[in-house]
Every structure is written in structure tokens, then in C-alpha cells.
């Protein structure tokens, strides 16, 4: 059965390479994307079934081939309870992203509509996303330090292009920031990995993990842990190294955000569980208080930053920093409970944040903005299904018991209550208290946001086009057109504003114009694309018509996430029974 893991890499790779051969457009591309990602997802389910649930420790479905003997680089793949859920999550999210891209309507560049393809170079996007999948799945499957690093790097370039080509306004800067930050992290990681190799003489993760740091003195382990930890922490991201994340999330297209938050961040935390902690236990013990401190700072900082955000996507990006803080806090405790919490939190965060970004992407597409004040309120009245999904995702994210988000945070705090023997208990109790405050703050910002966006009376306001951001020369005409639209609608709407002002306490800022939302979205799109003539837009919505609520494709992409969030929330054992035996092995605990 070990062919399954190889196939998990080969199928998306072959699917991507097939796209290099020119062939028919439109429907075929869509079928291709769905088939390849669907087959990959099915393969991951096959791997999950083959893995079984007997609770025995150890790698399964191992493939071990020499690749570059001179570098000791082996093509060594395998799966265990830690990596299996992440692999399934990756293939699932990729598949759902393609399903989401098949939606009708909307104006995002990330679409694969039926019939004539949009202008967003969808072929290249499918190619990039499939490569991304290869990299992420490979990272989770690799059992060789250098192979892990190679796959870790494979992810960078596709994600860079997803942001830089299909992103929003400031995408170039965001993409550069993303790749420079993460590459710096990777190189430091590489130095750490090579240092481990130099000291132990092997690259085999399994052998290294079972050695539990034998042969490396404490100082060397600490040094290696810091190097590897910094490399992984950039990806995670840990608090002082997080600054690339909000920009990347804000600018990335919806599918990019989903994959970035859903799986890419997990590569960092997975590295902690797979490499840093088991291979360098003494180093981990030495650095754990610092890791915990940074994690807790990240939690509180993320929450406070969220409270200050106006942009929905940016807010969710910062909330990711907070949630990743819980994951890191779980690791920092170095106890089985903490590690289980971290791994559970990983998966839960992947599901919940992916759903959040999907829903926010849908909102942004409908309203033309993700600015909270500009969204006005009353989404529950206007778009009941979408707003319900947003509410569900937010409530899951803030850790309501019964949903997946709860267990990760609760267990992490529980782990901090009783950290591993070598660690200072009072310090970790402090961390626990601060983390608890973080959960309260998390609830606070999500509820505030919900109250602003979903509740209240529907004011039907949208943000005026960001005219200032448009270049001078060729867009004049388009800008003028957009201005005409805006002026007209503004004039129309002034009396509406006066009517609604009484009810809506959070009125928009000065530049908020009350318009027919479709028209506003169109106007914005015109200025952005500088194509005045092409404003009729992509299907489904006519000027002046109602905004469509959740479409079937969106529903198909989102419902599996909802189901899984409920499932893991009500039945956490489904995941914990997978991770728990492995975690004991990783920690060398009985």
C-alpha cells in the first residue's frame, strides 16, 4: 500500500504538468482541476483507511528510496497519526478550493466558471495550486530532514505567485514580504537541520526521533532548536515574526487565503511536532519557557490587534496569530496533553479559518469590500445564509464548546496548568491565565464584529471606490465613469441614509456612499480594472438586482467544513485517538 503516499504526490504533480500541454479551454480545465484534486483527496482517504485505527505507534506506508546519496538525501515518506490528519486536511481543502472556484458569478480572479473562462489566467492558477498541494503534502509526508526542507521550499514559489498575480491592491509588496520572510526562515531552518545532521550523522527523522537527542549535548541541542524553531516560527507564525501574515492574507485571493491559513501555517507547527521537539528534547526543554512566552504574547497581541481591525480578512489573519499562539503554547508545555492540544488545534484552526476565509471571500465578492464599517450591518436580514455561516464560523473560532475550536484551546490551557517536569510551574500558570484572557478577548472581537456586520438593520451601504489608488493616465475615463456611478447613487441614496441613520448606530465613514450594492461593486471593479466597457460583469447579477445568497458551489465547498467542525467538536476522540499514541512516542513518555 505504500504506493498511496507516492501517488499522493505524483497525481497532483502530473495534473499540474498536464496543464503545460495546451488543450481545450473552459469546461475541460474545470473538469481537470476537479478530477485531479478529487483523486488526490480520495487517495488521502485511502491512506487514512489503510492506516487503520489500531492505535499502534510507528510509521505506516513507508517508502524509502535513495535519491541523492552524496547528500544522504533519501526519498523517505511515511505517515502516522500526526501527519495523517494534516494530509487529509490539505487534500480536502485543495479540493474544496477548486469546487469554490467553479462558482458562477462574482468577479474574483480565482474562478473557473462554466463556459468561457474569465480573464484571470485560471489555467495558471490551477497549475499553481496543484504545485502548492504537492509541496504541502510532501512536507507532511517527508521523513528525511532534507526532503522535508525541499518540500518546505516547494511551497514558497507557488504561494508567492498566488499572491503576486491573483492578489488585491498591494499584492506585490505583500508577496515580496511573504517570500522574503519565509525564505529567511527557511534558510535558518536549513542551517539548523544541517547542524543536527553534522552532530548526529543521520537525516532520518524516525531514527533521530527515537534517539531522543542522544549524542547531542544540551548546548548543541539548544542551538539547533533555536535555529530550527526560528525557521518554523516564521511559517507558523510566532508573534515577533508574524508581520508578513496580515499583508499576505489581506492581499491573497480567497483560495490563496484559505490554503495559506488552512494548511501552509500548519507546516510550521507540524515541524515543531515532528522535528524540533522529538529530535531535540533537551533543547526544547531549554527553550520552552521562551516559546510559551512568545506564544502567549502572540495570543494577547493577536486579539488586541483584531479588536482594532477594520478589514475582515485582516482581522481573521490576526486571529490566526492568536490561534497559532495556542498551538505553540501547547507545544511549549512539552506534555502529551499539550501536544495533543496543539495538534488538535492545528486541524481545528485549519477547518475553521478556511471556512472563515471562504465566507469572507464571498462577502467581499458581494459587497466589493471587506471593510467592516463599510459593510454596514444587517447581513442576517439581507443574506441570511451567508450571515449564518459567518456567525457559525466565528463562533467556532472563538472556541464555543461543542465546536472544534474549543478543544484545542482548552487542552492547551490544561497542558499549561501542569507543564512537563523540568518547566517552571508558576510561569506556565501565568501563561495559562494570559491565555485564558486571550480566549475572552477572542470572543470579544468576534462578537463585536458579528454585531457590527450581521446584526442591525440592513443599510445596504458599500464602501466608495478607492479612487485615490488608481493611476492617473489611462484610467481617467474609467474613474470618471465610476465617479458618475458613485455620484448618481450617492445622490439617490442620501435620503436613504437619513432614514436609516436613526437605526444603524455604526454608520460608515465619510466616504461611505449608500448605493445599490451591485452598482457599487461594479463601479469599484471598473476603476480597478480600468475597463469601463466591461462592466456588465460575470453572470448571475444584473445592475440593480438583489445580491445572491450562497450559491450551490459555495455551499458544496463550505458544508464539508461545517460538518467536520461539528464532528470534531462533538467527538474530539476521532482525532485524539490518532494523535495520542504518537504524541507519547514523540515525547518519549510511556
Amino acid at each position: 500500500m505504500s504506493w498511496v503516499l507516492v501517488a499522493l504526490l505524483v497525481v497532483p504533480l502530473a495534473g499540474a504538468l498536464m496543464l503545460l500541454v495546451p488543450y481545450g479551454k473552459g469546461r475541460l480545465l474545470r473538469a481537470h482541476a476537479l478530477t485531479v484534486s478529487g483523486v488526490t483527496f480520495a487517495l488521502s482517504l485511502v491512506a487514512a483507511v489503510a492506516y487503520g485505527s489500531d492505535g499502534a505507534v510507528g510509521m505506516r506506508l513507508v517508502t524509502d528510496l535513495a535519491w541523492v546519496p552524496w547528500l544522504n538525501l533519501r526519498f523517505h515518506l511515511g505517515v502516522d497519526g500526526v501527519s495523517l490528519p494534516l494530509v487529509v486536511l490539505t487534500t480536502l481543502l485543495t479540493f474544496l478550493c477548486f469546487v469554490y472556484m467553479c462558482r458562477e458569478g462574482g468577479n474574483g480572479p480565482d474562478r473557473l466558471p462554466r463556459g468561457e473562462l474569465g480573464p484571470g489566467r485560471p489555467r495558471a492558477l490551477v497549475f499553481t495550486l496543484l504545485l502548492l498541494e504537492v509541496g504541502v503534502v510532501g512536507t507532511f509526508l517527508a521523513l528525511d530532514l532534507l526532503l522535508f526542507f525541499v518540500f518546505f521550499e516547494v511551497v514558497l514559489i507557488p504561494m508567492y505567485f498566488v499572491i503576486a498575480i491573483w492578489g488585491g491592491h498591494a499584492r506585490r509588496a505583500a508577496a515580496n514580504k511573504f517570500i522574503l520572510y519565509t525564505l529567511l526562515g527557511s534558510v535558518v531552518l536549513l542551517i539548523g537541520l544541517l547542524f543536527v545532521w553534522a552532530r548526529t550523522g543521520t537525516l532520518d527523522m524516525v531514527a533521530l526521533a527515537s534517539a531522543h537527542g542522544a549524542g547531542m549535548p544540551r548546548s548543541a541541542q539548544t542551538l539547533a532548536f533555536v535555529a530550527i524553531g526560528v525557521g518554523l516560527a516564521v511559517k507558523t507564525p510566532m508573534w515577533p515574526l508574524h508581520t508578513w501574515l496580515p499583508a499576505a492574507h489581506t492581499e491573497a485571493p480567497t483560495v490563496g487565503s484559505v490554503l495559506l491559513a488552512g494548511v501552509l501555517l500548519k507546516m510550521g507547527t507540524y515541524g515543531f511536532a515532528r522535528i524540533a521537539i522529538p529530535i531535540l528534547p533537551e533543547g526544547a526543554a531549554a527553550v520552552a519557557p521562551w516559546l510559551g512566552a512568545f506564544a502567549v504574547i502572540g495570543i494577547v497581541y493577536g486579539c488586541l490587534a483584531c479588536l482594532a481591525q477594520r478589514d475582515l480578512k485582516r482581522m481573521i489573519a490576526y486571529s490566526s496569530i492568536g490561534h497559532m499562539g495556542f498551538v505553540l503554547l501547547g507545544f511549549a508545555t512539552l506534555t502529551p496533553v499539550g501536544l495533543n492540544a496543539a495538534l488538535f488545534g492545528n486541524i481545528a484552526h485549519g477547518l475553521i479559518t478556511a471556512l472563515l476565509f471562504f465566507v469572507v471571500g464571498g462577502i467581499k465578492e458581494r459587497y466589493g469590500t471587506a471593510d467592516i464599517p463599510a459593510l454596514g450591518g444587517g447581513m442576517l436580514a439581507r443574506l441570511p445564509h451567508l450571515a449564518s455561516l459567518l456567525t457559525f464560523a466565528c463562533v467556532a473560532s472563538l472556541g464555543l464548546p461543542g465546536l472544534a475550536g474549543f478543544w484545542g484551546e482548552m487542552l492547551a490551557l490544561l497542558g499549561a496548568f501542569d507543564p512537563a517536569p523540568g518547566l517552571s510551574r508558576p510561569l506556565f500558570l501565568t501563561f495559562m491565565v494570559l491565555g485564558g484572557i486571550g480566549t475572552v478577548l477572542t470572543a470579544a472581537y468576534f462578537l463585536v464584529m458579528l454585531s457590527r456586520v450581521t446584526h442591525g438593520r440592513p443599510t445596504e451601504t458599500v464602501h466608495a471606490p478607492l479612487l485615490a489608488a488608481v493611476g492617473p493616465a489611462e484610467t481617467r475615463e474609467a474613474v470618471a465613469a465610476a465617479e458618475r456611478v458613485t455620484e448618481k447613487v450617492t445622490a439617490d441614496a442620501e435620503q436613504v441614509v437619513e432614514e436609516t441613520m436613526a437605526g444603524g448606530e455604526d454608520s460608515g465613514p465619510v466616504d461611505t456612499a449608500v448605493v445599490d450594492d451591485t452598482g457599487g461593486a461594479m463601479a469599484r471593479r471598473d476603476t480597478e480594472g480600468a475597463r469601463g466597457s466591461d462592466s456588465s460583469g460575470g453572470g448571475g447579477r444584473a445592475r440593480g438586482g438583489r445580491v445572491r445568497d450562497v450559491t450551490p458551489h459555495e455551499l458544496a465547498a463550505w458544508v464539508p467544513l461545517v460538518v467536520l467542525i461539528l464532528l470534531f467538536g462533538l467527538w474530539p476522540k476521532a482525532l485524539l485517538s490518532l494523535t495520542d499514541p504518537v504524541v507519547h512516542g514523540l515525547l518519549g513518555a510511556p
Binding site: 541523492v68 509541496g135 514559489i157 522574503l180 484610467t475
Partner: protein
């Protein structure tokens, strides 16, 4: 006596340089005697290519035969006899010499014994080290010949001379790694360098090229002089030119102070002392210089010699304090010559550097290792920082190749002879990716003589194969997947640094990798972004167009102002801005390259700038640049007849380099397994 001096030459060993030299002569004769017909030009190219391929065939034949290294031009028996007659030398010397021989030759070590050290010193040795460099140079030579076929199709450059000079350079570059004495090393190095000046300046009436040739000439001559000075000091100290003898003498010299002294009383140190005593009694070099007194303490002289040799080679490989020539020379030279400089000439320089430092001066590593480490750190940092600001494609590649020199040098800054193989591995990988990048640049330069980065905008749409190939090569140079070859190359170097305990250099290199990534990826993004002219017509995604415009506007304004700022008080020709203006003006006015510049300030400003700069810059460049640009213009736009003929070779070159780079990406062991004397740390 005369009889004993006559020596037999192993013609199989010297076949590759010999074939190249004969081909060079043949090309010159054919050029002189063949009638001036259209077919002559490709015919001469074909002869050159055949010569390089035959030489490559000999190298492969040499590589495929197993066994000991082939040695020729050895010191005759009669001359070595006095030294060989002293058996007591052997016990002291073998371990060290053995190690050096093993590291660099990769041959199975002969059982340590008296025979090992007293093997005659040879000037020309074909071992793994030689073969890997010769193979690298010849494959690169094939690519350069293909590129120059494209260049020569324009008919602007005399074909016979070009190919003759090219073959001469290759002869030197193949002979150099086989050289095992200082004289031959210098001669081969000069044989590599001298024809390149002429190649650079062969495009007549091109002020930029002439300037580049003069700069290259001056720099190269100075560096040769410095090297020669250092080498003469080495010879003076040791009395020998053969590298193995040199190493032996230096090693013994180093051992002398450790020995109990002239008295030789200690019984335990007897063998060593005896060895030292033998040396002091009379080491007879191949030139019959006899030292009959205890050697004075010449270690400071050796240090000076090392510094001078290092400086001389640093010029050749464009390492940092001596890197300044790279930008102007690469940009001024024809693209194939720039490729030659960045790969073949650089490989030759590194071969010489490794031979001298590791083979000859291995015992003095305490002196040169820290020096090399510092030079490496400076080279990669300065090269990358300079490359960050470039807008000209070849100039960017020039500085990036300076930075890559730093990566190649880095393993030499490890006190471990095995680290050299990491340098060689990096050099081979670098050669593949850099040649590929130059091949695509050559292709683009036919259309856009200006060859700025913005000319690459939308290349992936105009010419998908070339565009994607260039993206691949750039990612290789950046060291990111899918350019795995670059990643492996960097891992190899990082490994040596980490294992060798030079952590600070590893950190410097890590930071540099990130800096380098920025400009490589920025270029790659340009290639994948639709061209502005294209986007207006076709339905491109909205954001892209806006973005393009922003970019252009942002670029045009500071660019023009900075050009002014530089040229106002610049030394003529020393600044890129100046040259760019001189070049850009006629092209913009001639309206080539579709849409000249989208940003509104650019068209207004650029034609005006030469008026400002021309009086400020008294020297040649601006004036001759104009006709040259026009000539290129006519070539790129006008001569459709030669277009197809010129297109093929460069496409083949891109294909070859892409194949090699892909092969190295998937199976780097093709190179790594071939590296001499390497022991993986895991084993």
C-alpha cells in the same frame, strides 16, 4: 644528459587541449583561404563546434577509463635522481602528501611507502579534478559556440577571428586544471584571459565594447602581474615550481620549527628530524637550486606570496575587493562573451585558485582560510547588494555572478580540504543555470538590443518556452524549487560551512540567499506579467494592467532622476546610469520595441537627458554608443534573412542548458558522485 631530458609525451592525455588548438589553427586557415561566401560563416562555426565536441569526446574517453591519473610532462628521471636517492625523505613526508594527492586526484592511494613521494613531479596531470573542470569548460564551450553562432549571424563581427579566439580561450581553460606547475598554470591562465580581451572588443565601432575590452585588459594584466609576483615569491622561497614539490617543501618547512632543532637529539622524533635534516642538507629542486644552509624563517614571505596570489585570482573570479570591473565588462561585451566570462573564465580562475591554495599551499591553510572566508562573505554580500539595483539584464547577471562567486568561495573558507569539492559542485551547478540564463538573454537581446529588465515583461506570453526556461533558470540561481539544482548547490555549501564550524559564514550566506532571491524573483515576475502593449489590446486581468502602469510610472520617475544624478558628476563610463541614457536615447527616438515606455514622464525625459549628460561626460561612450545602437537596431528589426539561421543555435543552447539543469535538479548525484575525494559526513 640530453638524452635524459627528452621525455615522452602522452598524447592521449594532452588530446583535449591539442584538439582545440588544432581546431583553432584550422579555423584561422579556413577563414584566410575560403572564398567569401555566405556558407563560410556557418561552416566555421560548425568546425569550431566539431573541435569542441571532439575535445569533449576525448575528455569523456579519459573519464571512462578507470585507473590512475594520467601524467605527462614529468621531470625526467635524471633530474629527480638526487632527490630520489635519499630514502630518508619518505618517512616524514608521505602522510601529508598522500592526503593531498588523494583529495585532489581521487585516485586510489598507492600504499604509503617510499615510492609515493618520489614519483616524478609532472606538469600535466589528468585526474578527476582535471576531468570535471575540462568537461565543465567544454560543455560550456559548446553553449558559448552556439550562442556566438547567433551573434555572428548578424555579420558584424569577423567570424574567423572570433572562433579562433574562442578556441584559444577554451584551450587554455582545458589545459589549466591539468596544470600542476606554477609556470604552466600562469601560461594557461593567460591563454584563457588574453583572447577574451579581443573577443570583447571585436565588435568594432562599439564604444561600450571597446571600453569593456580596455577595462578587462587592464584589470587582467594587473591581476596577472600581481599573481606572478606572488608566484615568484613562492618559487623563491621553495625553489620549485611543481605544486606537489611546493607542498612538500612548505610542509617540511613548517615541520622544521617543530623538530627539536639542528641538534637532532631526541630519539622519538627521529624520523621527522631526519627528514628535516635531509632537507636542510640539500633539497635539490628540478631547477637544480640547492639549499645548503638551514632555511631562514621565510614564513612572512610565504604569507605575502599567498596574499598576492589570492589577490590575483580574486581579480579573475571577480571576488570582492577586485570585483568592480564585472558590471561594465559584462554589459559591454557581447552576450556570449559575458557568458564565457561568467562561466568558463570563472571556472578557470577557480581551478587555478583551488590548485594553488589546496594542492600547493595546503600546509599554509591557517593563513589563507580566514582570508578566503572574509572575501567570500564580502563577495556575496556586495554582489547581491549591487545586483538589487540593476535594471539591465546582463549587468544584473554580472553582479549576481559576483555574488555566486562568493558562494563558490565560501567552502574554501573552511579548514578542511574536503570542502573544496563543495566549491566544485557549486561551480558545476552554477555553470548550468547561469549559461541557461545567458542563453535566454541572448535570445531576447536579438529583439531588444537595450536588454533591460523591462524588455522581459510578458516574455512568457510572447515566447512561452524561452520565458518559462528563464524563470526556471532564475529560480535555480535563487535556489528555490522547482530550481532544485540551485537548492542542492546551496545545501552542499551550507553543509560544508556548518560541518566545518564556520557558522558565521553560513549565517551571512543565509541572509544573502534572501537578498538574492529578491532580484531573481522580481525578474521572474516581470517575465510572467503581461507586457503593457499587450495588455491594452487583450483582455488581461484588470489588476494586472493597473499594476503595470503603477510600476512603470514609479520606475520611470526615479530612474530618470537618478540617471541625471549620477551622470552629473560621474566618471565617464563608470556608472550604469550614464550608459543607459546613452543607449536608451536613440532607441526611444527610433520607436522600436513597440511601446517605448508607458510611464508618462519617460518619453519626455529620456530624449532630453543626453543633452544634459553629453557635455557633462567628456569621454567616448555616448557618442559611439549611438551608431552601435542603431546598428543593433537594424539587426534586430531589419535583417529578417539571418533571423532564422540565428535563432536555431540559441534555441539549441537553451534546450541543452535546460536539460542539464533539469537533470541536475532531479539527479544531482550525476555530478556529486563524480567529485573527487569526498567523504559524506554521514558515512
Amino acid at each position: 644528459m640530453i638524452q635524459s631530458v627528452v621525455q615522452s609525451i602522452d598524447y592521449f592525455a594532452v588530446a583535449p587541449p591539442l584538439v582545440l588548438a588544432l581546431a583553432a589553427g584550422l579555423v584561422l586557415l579556413l577563414d584566410a583561404f575560403l572564398p567569401r561566401r555566405p556558407y563560410v560563416r556557418p561552416a566555421l562555426g560548425a568546425v569550431t563546434l566539431a573541435g569542441v565536441l571532439v575535445a569533449l569526446g576525448f575528455v569523456i574517453a579519459q573519464a571512462s577509463r578507470s585507473g590512475e591519473a594520467i601524467r605527462t610532462f614529468c621531470v625526467p628521471e635524471s633530474l629527480t635522481a638526487p632527490t630520489r636517492g635519499i630514502p630518508a625523505v619518505s618517512p616524514a613526508a608521505p602522510p601529508g602528501v598522500e592526503q593531498v594527492t588523494q583529495t585532489l586526484t581521487g585516485t586510489a592511494a598507492v600504499a604509503p611507502g617510499p615510492g609515493a613521494v618520489s614519483a616524478p613531479s609532472c606538469s600535466f596531470v589528468v585526474d578527476d579534478f582535471t576531468l570535471i573542470f575540462a568537461g565543465l569548460v567544454l560543455v560550456a564551450g559548446v553553449v558559448v559556440v552556439l550562442l556566438s553562432m547567433t551573434l555572428l549571424a548578424s555579420g558584424e563581427i569577423p567570424v574567423g577571428e572570433w572562433h579562433f579566439l574562442l578556441l584559444c580561450t577554451l584551450t587554455g581553460a582545458v589545459a589549466l586544471p591539468a596544470s600542476r606547475d606554477l609556470i604552466m598554470l600562469v601560461v594557461a591562465l593567460e591563454l584563457v584571459s588574453l583572447p577574451v580581451f579581443a573577443l570583447t572588443g571585436l565588435r568594432r565601432h562599439d564604444g561600450r565594447a571597446s571600453e569593456a575590452a580596455v577595462k578587462l585588459f587592464l584589470v587582467s594584466v594587473v591581476s596577472t602581474a600581481v599573481t606572478l609576483f606572488g608566484i615568484s615569491l613562492l618559487y623563491g622561497v621553495t625553489g620549485t615550481v611543481h605544486l606537489d614539490r611546493l607542498a612538500q617543501v612548505l610542509r617540511e618547512r613548517a615541520a622544521v620549527p617543530a623538530a627539536p632543532g639542528p641538534g637532532q637529539a631526541a630519539g622519538t622524533a627521529l624520523p621527522q628530524a631526519a627528514g628535516a635534516a635531509d632537507v636542510t642538507e640539500g633539497y635539490v629542486s628540478s631547477l637544480h637550486i640547492v639549499y645548503d644552509s638551514p632555511p631562514p624563517d621565510l614564513s612572512s614571505v610565504v604569507t605575502v606570496a599567498i596574499v598576492l596570489v589570492l589577490a590575483g585570482f580574486a581579480f579573475k573570479v571577480a571576488a570582492v575587493p577586485f570585483h568592480a570591473w564585472a558590471g561594465d565588462v559584462y554589459q559591454g561585451a557581447p552576450v556570449p562573451v559575458a557568458a564565457l566570462l561568467s562561466v568558463i573564465s570563472k571556472a578557470a580562475g577557480f581551478a587555478g585558485l583551488i590548485l594553488i591554495l589546496v594542492t600547493a599551499l595546503g600546509s599554509e591553510s591557517g593563513t589563507w582560510v580566514p582570508l578566503v572566508a572574509i572575501i567570500a562573505a564580502l563577495t556575496m554580500t556586495v554582489g547581491n547588494l549591487l545586483a538589487l539595483r540593476q535594471r539591465h539584464a546582463v549587468r544584473l547577471l554580472a553582479w549576481s555572478s559576483v555574488a555566486q562567486s562568493g558562494y563558490i568561495l565560501a567552502p574554501l573558507g573552511v579548514r578542511d580540504e574536503e570542502a573544496t569539492s563543495a566549491s566544485i559542485a557549486y561551480l558545476v551547478f552554477y555553470a548550468a543555470m547561469n549559461l541557461g540564463a545567458f542563453a535566454v538573454v541572448m535570445l531576447v537581446s536579438r529583439r531588444a538590443a537595450r536588454n533591460e529588465l523591462d524588455d522581459y515583461r510578458g516574455l512568457a506570453f510572447r515566447n512561452p518556452a524561452a520565458g518559462l526556461a528563464l524563470v526556471f533558470f532564475l529560480l535555480c540561481l535563487a535556489g528555490l524549487p522547482p530550481g532544485l539544482v540551485g537548492l542542492f548547490a546551496k545545501i552542499v555549501v551550507f553543509r560544508e560551512l556548518v560541518v566545518g564550524g564556520v557558522g558565521w559564514l553560513a549565517v551571512v550566506m543565509a541572509v544573502n540567499t534572501v537578498i538574492g532571491l529578491y532580484y531573481y524573483v522580481a525578474w521572474a515576475v516581470r517575465i510572467l506579467t503581461p507586457a503593457p502593449g499587450r495588455a491594452a489590446g487583450k483582455a488581461a486581468p484588470g489588476p494586472d494592467r493597473r499594476e503595470v502602469r503603477e510600476d512603470d510610472a514609479a520606475r520611470a520617475v526615479p530612474a530618470v532622476s537618478s540617471e541625471r544624478g549620477i551622470t552629473g558628476h560621474a566618471v565617464p563610463g563608470a556608472s550604469s546610469g550614464h550608459e543607459d541614457v546613452g543607449r536608451a536615447a536613440p532607441e526611444t527616438s527610433s520607436g522600436r520595441e513597440g511601446v517605448p515606455d508607458q510611464g508618462s514622464p519617460a518619453p519626455g525625459q529620456v530624449p532630453g537627458t543626453p543633452d544634459i549628460t553629453a557635455p557633462a561626460a567628456p569621454a567616448a561612450p555616448t557618442a559611439p554608443a549611438a551608431p552601435a545602437a542603431l546598428v543593433e537596431d537594424a539587426d534586430g528589426g531589419g535583417s529578417r534573412t539571418g533571423w532564422r539561421a540565428g535563432w536555431m543555435p540559441v534555441a539549441v543552447a537553451i534546450g541543452v542548458t535546460a536539460f542539464v539543469a533539469l537533470l541536475f535538479s532531479v539527479a544531482p548525484q550525476v555530478v556529486l558522485d563524480f567529485l573527487p575525494g569526498v567523504v559524506g559526513i554521514g558515512r
